[in-house]
Symmetry: C2
Subunit: 139 residues, 2 copies
Amino acid sequence: MTPETLERSKTWLGQSDLRPTRQRLALAALLVGDGQDRHVTAEGLHDAVLATGDKVSLATVYNTLRAFCDAGLMQEVTVDGSRSYFDTRMDDHPHFYMEDAGHLTDAPRAGVDITALPDVPEGYEIAKVDVVIRLRRKG
Amino acid sequence: MTPETLERSKTWLGQSDLRPTRQRLALAALLVGDGQDRHVTAEGLHDAVLATGDKVSLATVYNTLRAFCDAGLMQEVTVDGSRSYFDTRMDDHPHFYMEDAGHLTDAPRAGVDITALPDVPEGYEIAKVDVVIRLRRKG
DNA sequence: CTATGTGCAAATCTTTTGCAGGCTA
DNA sequence: TAGCCTGCAAAAGATTTGCACATAG
């Protein structure tokens, strides 16, 4: 891990009141270590961390992702009923989902317009608008 | 079950090559028997069918919903990682999801504009655009 | 009659939890 | 030191599957 990556991970974690433990720093490094946004599954992140040589249990990966979300560092994205995806980008934005590969990426905001929504059921207000653009391999 | 409901259920099932068994007709009656669109979970539909006095196993409800989807009679909607919702309306339309109640309904199409989407990843094309408007209780 | 469909229980898969021991502030 | 964390294994919940029996065409 480069000092830059470590720095970024600590800064990121520092935005919350979660303790910077070895496991959390290892996961944070994979999530935000290069300053790029990531979309991961628990399983995928676990594989990734093991590949670096660090050892973190799968249960801890699940608990940590959940903790990161609760702390407002990440958000969960629901695109596939069979597993959860977690996104380090916190603003409301559309996603591309490649169903064949099970791969999730950010989509440009341009092109998706959610204008004022009428007819919101009585007593409710909009919490969030999720847009998932499902892609299939062309041909 | 009214003759009208039975008729609608048979017609609906008839659009596929699935055999009109007792169980399928019972479920179809609950899904399209009154000509309205429905959003159900397997568990919820199972409860509903038991409430009518018919007896259908939960596994069969799951298998049947899956079969209806495969046959193009319904579609699965992914809004909550922990369970699947099934929608009898087949066109591409946005949904309201009341997170507190776990309740899913159709949203008016007006207000949501998906204009031409640029930057679709190389080799892919759009299969479907899912829009889920998550609602929270106001106040 | 033959291919499908059904029910049950068991298997699967993802995610959560209980608890004993470890580590951060 | 006190409280938060972690790991493991077991639990939990949703969904699928194997298999023997039932049924539609």
